[in-house]
Amino acid sequence: AQTVTQSQPEMSVQEAETVTLSCTYDTSENNYYLFWYKQPPSRQMILVIRQEAYKQQNATENRFSVNFQKAAKSFSLKISDSQLGDTAMYFCAFMNPPANAGKSTFGDGTTLTVKP
């Protein structure tokens, strides 16, 4: 079974600074998908960014980027120019293909607070 580990239960960052959230996973599969989801306080969880394991290039979505190290089974999320609206719980998730199956394994989450 796959496991996903987020070793930082809580983090904080000053507005406009950069922060990196860590995620490691364990799998024997070669093809898979990795995700970062964001859950703002009292609001629904949404996808931040995704990475397909066969792609070597790190995914980027505006201020959000990942550092995907397949050999190390590491998938960290970097948030640049942090904004107050980035305050949320962030979950790292792993999915075996086929992607249309949708069945994901989640980490325990990291609560990020952006301070003004």
Partner: protein, 114 residues
Amino acid sequence: DVKVTQSSRYLVKRTGEKVFLECVQDMDHENMFWYRQDPGLGLRLIYFSYDVKMKEKGDIPEGYSVSREKKERFSLILESASTNQTSMYLCASSHRKVTTGELFFGEGSRLTVL
């Protein structure tokens, strides 16, 4: 926009009561999921369904059942609620014909069992 709607944001029930948590999605998604979210434990999969009248057990199905009579609706049932089922319950859906793997979540139902 994809919308996943959970019928109740907050519920308070008594031990032994039967509890229904309803989830409806409006984007014709084939896949639907029920997760339980607890502090320090992340999200754990309870049940999922890939089609109408189809269901599969997730990682923690004990004490729960589900129903999927229509494609857009996936219900989670607690036959006899217990205090250890006090939790946040999240419904999610995804499109079987789209290979991004993205899950779309509802706002959650926070259940307290007294």
